[in-house]
């Protein structure tokens, strides 16, 4: 039977299905979700917040590859269950020490005719948003199947303002664009800036996590949670009707994900509020992930670190040891017979200087990139055997450094650049992790620069999603923490695998050395990229004129020093780098003091004020102390931030140290102008602080006993 004939049959058989509607609301009743089947048995949902519609009636379902019947219509409701859940759990690390997971649930069980297949849809309605996923229970008529297209829609009510980056199967390292939905198509081409691996797919294709703002004052975030064994979701906008259609990252053959019942999809998430700070405060994405599968988490520890990195990013030094080699054969190439290029960053003497600096200033770790053989031809050759992860360059005394760091009380952080040659990485993974443990490394920064090998796969396809997951789970076996760069953006999986302590998956500080990011970039990231988990943003740049590090680098860091300090608070991560060079910190030790002082792991967080693209001000209380830290990052206009310290314990006295933009500060022409002011504060204090464009302030508030 052809698919066409079957569709007609289906239509005639089920045209008479009665429309059915079911409703659930959030615990606080602010959010209302309606599920219904239309006359053709197509599942749909609709959602509103405080009586404002957030998602218009939107279809649900799937197009299935080479199957007789798609999973899109002909459904009837065979069962539905309502339940409620309320639990508080303690994350291993995070923005607060306890997270409440409170929702009402509707599980709709759908049966399709004539296929007799069962597809369930599970909705969870929280006070801060909605998550839903598809579930395929074990059943006689559905085993293996391949999804050709996920038909999930998110129908917008209007031509909202969006903070978006171009849809891409390989990179998220784009500057955010703020525009109306109707403007996306025209702005797309110029928004696709160059990257070492990139694959765009549609002139209206954009990425999640996406932030939208409506004209009637709603903030909406669309993303997904628990992306496990599935293809990464993008959104393609029908810009006539303002409907977002799910767009899954295909495999090399244009299909996927490959499914096998019993199975569930990731959660599709819609966070909503009329207050932008609620978006930042939302824990829904974590709540939709499974509890930790790692039983003993005592070895997972937040880290503040310095490293041999920014000097290579700026071009001051190099990852490569020599300029002699056109091609490296690992195990064959004899580096001792090559001429060193004289600017190799990861040399023993220099690394020991970094260890000294870290030790002197109380940092937990030192990251070293370019320590291992293979960097001479690491990129751009589709090279399979690119690194072995266990062979240091001749000038990197691995064991000497190990001992030196240990004696100084500093941990070394390993670097594994894969060059996206993931078969090679998987082949070496056990050995590489064991090598780390043998040499006292408990954390790894991994990288996926360049096009994926196996060739034709993309960074965000199911194949690669499974790889990143494999690397994280295997790392957990070795008690290793992972900070994966260029990997798929996080979806709250760190709840389940808290050894995934950070990701990059966005435009990080490195782009400040590649041509600069927008001065308000960091006022968007917490609303988008950070929804899924922490980012290793690598802040702390004090020298904004990069030609001072490398005369050939004409890029400028679009930020003030005060803004850089604030990032340690506003860009939550259990892994925080002080990315600039020691010599630059030594020039501004008074400002550097904030980086040394600022907490890493938090008892609670108070989101004082926020507007995407404009400003974010957050106060956080350090876990195990009474110390608070506040960060404010400012967008494109000078602004006075008025905040109340009423979150402080009443009756207690505190000493505040305020690091703010100097009067004459300017992110472009005078970024190093800052002032430091100390004052006593209490819970009754109010502060009024000016931040310049691309600027901000940082405050440490220490209890005075």
């Amino acid at each position: 039977m052809t698919k066409q004939i079957l569709s007609i049959l289906t239509l005639s058989l089920f045209i008479s299905i009665q429309a059915i509607a079911q409703q659930i609301v959030s615990p606080d009743k602010s959010i209302q979700l309606n599920f219904s089947l239309n006359a053709e048995g197509v599942p749909t949902y609709q959602m509103s917040f405080k009586d404002k519609e957030v998602i218009k009636t939107s279809r649900l379902g799937f197009q299935i590859k080479e199957d007789e019947q798609d999973l899109k219509n002909g459904f009837t409701v065979v069962n539905s269950e309502n339940s409620t859940f309320d639990e508080t759990w303690k994350p291993v690390w995070g923005e607060e020490s306890e997270i409440r997971n409170h929702y009402n649930e509707l599980l709709v069980s759908l049966k399709q005719e004539p296929s007799q297949r069962i597809m369930n849809i599970r909705f969870r309605v929280f006070n801060d948003g909605v998550g839903f996923r598809y579930e395929f229970p074990e059943q006689a008529n559905l085993g293996h199947f391949v999804i050709e297209k996920e038909l999930t829609q998110f129908a917008m009510t209007n031509d909202h303002t969006a903070f978006w980056i171009p849809g891409d199967y390989d990179t998220q390292e784009y500057d955010y664009i703020e525009s109306r939905l109707s403007e996306i198509r025209d702005l797309m081409t110029n928004s696709i800036t160059s990257n070492l691996s990139q694959t765009s797919f549609s002139p209206t294709g954009i990425q999640t996590s996406l932030l939208l703002k409506t004209d009637d004052g709603l903030y909406i975030n669309l993303h997904e949670a628990a992306l496990i064994d599935y293809s990464t979701m993008h959104l393609e906008l029908d810009d006539k009707d303002f409907v977002f259609n799910a767009w899954l990252t295909p495999d090399v053959q244009g299909s996927g994900p490959y499914m096998m019942a019993p199975a569930t999809t990731p959660w599709r998430t819609i966070i909503v509020s009329d207050d932008a700070t609620d978006i930042l405060a939302s824990r829904m994405t974590y709540n939709l992930n499974e509890p930790s599968k790692i039983e003993d988490t005592s070895w997972i520890k937040p880290m503040k670190y310095v490293g041999v990195w920014w000097e290579m990013i700026t071009g001051k030094s190099s990852w490569a040891y020599t300029d002699d080699l056109k091609a490296v054969k690992l195990g064959v190439t004899d580096y001792t017979k090559t001429k060193p290029n004289g600017k190799h960053g990861a040399n023993t003497k220099h690394v020991k200087e970094l260890i000294d600096f870290a030790s002197e200033h109380g940092f937990d770790g030192v990251l070293v990139e370019g320590w291992n053989e293979g960097w001479e031809d690491w990129f751009g050759h589709s090279k399979d055997y690119v690194f072995d992860y266990v062979t240091p360059y001749p000038d990197f005394d691995l064991e000497g450094i190990e001992t030196y760091a240990k004696n100084k009380g500093v941990e070394m952080i390993m670097h594994h650049e894969t060059s996206s040659s993931v078969r090679n990485y998987e082949r070496h993974l056990d050995q590489a992790y064991q090598f780390m443990k043998d040499h006292g490394y408990n954390a790894v920064k991994s990288g996926y620069v360049g096009d994926i090998l196996p060739r034709g796969e993309n960074h965000y396809s199911q194949w690669m999603v499974n790889h990143y997951q494999y690397a994280v789970e295997k790392a957990a076996e070795y008690k290793i923490m992972v900070n994966a760069h260029e990997a798929v953006r996080p979806t709250g999986i760190a709840r389940t695998y808290p050894n995934l302590i950070a990701n990059e998956s966005a435009r990080g500080t490195e782009y400040q050395a590649f041509s600069g990011s927008k001065p308000n970039h960091v006022t968007v990231l917490p609303f988008t990229r950070l929804i899924g988990g922490p980012m290793d943003y690598t802040p702390g740049i004090f020298e904004m004129d990069l030609s001072k590090l490398n005369p050939d680098n004409k890029s400028h860091v679009n930020s003030t020093i005060a803004n850089q300090l604030a990032l340690y608070v506003t860009m939550y991560s259990p892994l925080q780098m002080a990315a600039d060079l020691p010599e630059n910190y030594n020039r501004f030790l008074d400002a550097f003091q904030f980086i040394k002082d600022v907490g890493l792991d938090w008892e609670k967080s108070v989101y004082l004020e926020a507007e995407p693209g404009s400003y974010i001000t957050i106060a956080r209380k350090e876990k195990g102390t009474n110390d608070w830290f506040i960060g404010n990052v400012n967008g494109k206009k000078d602004r006075v931030s008025e905040i109340s310290l009423d979150f402080l314990d009443k009756g207690k006295k505190y000493l505040a140290t305020i690091y703010s933009d100097g009067e004459d500060a300017n992110y472009r022409t005078n970024p190093q102008s800052y002032t430091i002011k100390k004052m006593n504060v209490t819970s009754k204090s109010k502060l009024s602080l000016k931040s310049v464009e691309g600027g901000g302030y940082a405050i440490s508030i220490i209890e005075v006993r």
Copy 2:
């Protein structure tokens, strides 16, 4: 500069290059090879045997992907070196205990203008043929590059007769076609029989190893040696001029291999003689491979084995444990809660019966397929996590069987079906090999049924060639012998890694259960598939009417019992299965005696008579004894084979046991008719033995002391 302009420039610059010719001959002067550069600086070669031209002037070189200049013309000879080599080496196992490697060599160093790149071509001329390869030394102007097309040609002198199978990126499991070159195009479509994974590429594309026969009596074999880190070569015929063009198996993006200087290609080989037995006796393919990289080879031992296999192939029993499951989730699916299907072959009781049988009849090993969880959905779903290689079915008592086999002096042979999900296999490889060693398994039969994962790759692309090599090299680390099925056809690599004790890579005995093979199939394989290394052909079928095993199986084994016995001699392999069921052997124990007696490893081999497609008669002397074994397989016509036993030691007396076709034997209607005759023989004896179509004879010759 565009490629077009460059080509014109090149042409004008180098049109004046002087044609240069160099010649080398084989040690016995029978073969003459001429290398020359034509007026455009294109390298060419030409070859003759005893003054008959074998290869007409044929071009050499490469088309390079996205490079300014292909490696095809503009060459001058900057150096050439002649040398000679003569060495005798001892294989770990083989058709003879010592192999002479004797050749004259010409190394031509070519420099290209204007690219300044160096490409060397190394020719080795043996008495039995020519091998040549390209070499790219380390140089300033050539590092990484991607071959788009290898331009190597093999220009035939005429419309020869060929014994060919369709070119395919995924399978060699085709029946051989005997035809004129000019007939290939018309015969192609019908020659492509169905297979579980197959990708043909051209109506005149065929595979190596290819056997050709000329009208003036030459036998020519075209193949390759030492296929390492390169794409498998096919041949595409220009059937107007009878020129074969090299056709490399592309990667998923249509390119490859990916090269990195210093590098060498595999050897392109041309074996030639005017006596067909010389083709069988040629050791050139091994000689062109590197000596063993395994230092201690004491653990590598030829094996004769039985197994739980033919019963599944014929459909009598099953690999799967249950028929309940549509999809298996390893580690989640609980088999103890499923209903056994009642025909699972790999159950403890049955395996112990096989162990008893092996022990009673002196076999070294027992292979068991279907012992591990996952067979319910192992094929056809592009399933990633298909097997874990360490979890037995509930009815397979791994440890009990281990002990039982050990007590009976029998080795168990592990089976690893990968379902071509090679990432999954590589992820489990260390654990799987360790599991084998922990449970006393020293040999593995691996399988690559179905389309490759990573999707879009093919069985014979560089990616997969590297995988098979990885599996063999890693096995060597664990002292494990590998018999890889559905892997790329061998190219003599077993010299370098003698733990690669066999491959399938051709139409094996299993096809006798799938519809049957041609009755003369086994008179072709030794001239083609076996040129590169041993085949696990799994002979020894005594019951040719397969409906007796499984009423639903209508296939017939196109062979007589005597022919099946002869295969143990004619199809050389250090791994020989007695593939039929014990109950069938028990019906013909007198014939079975030959399988029990026949040697596995040989002191020397004498190729008595041979004609591809018609007959092969080989005598071999068992290593460490004075016993000889003779096998004759016959083709499509009844024939009387006249042989002299003059290879026997003069003066010694021997008892010959002759197993030959019965007078009324017929491979279709009366295949179980055979006679066994014992007689005393000496080196002066001559035998005249009749073999029927698809028949043959086998003789054991034991010294009488």
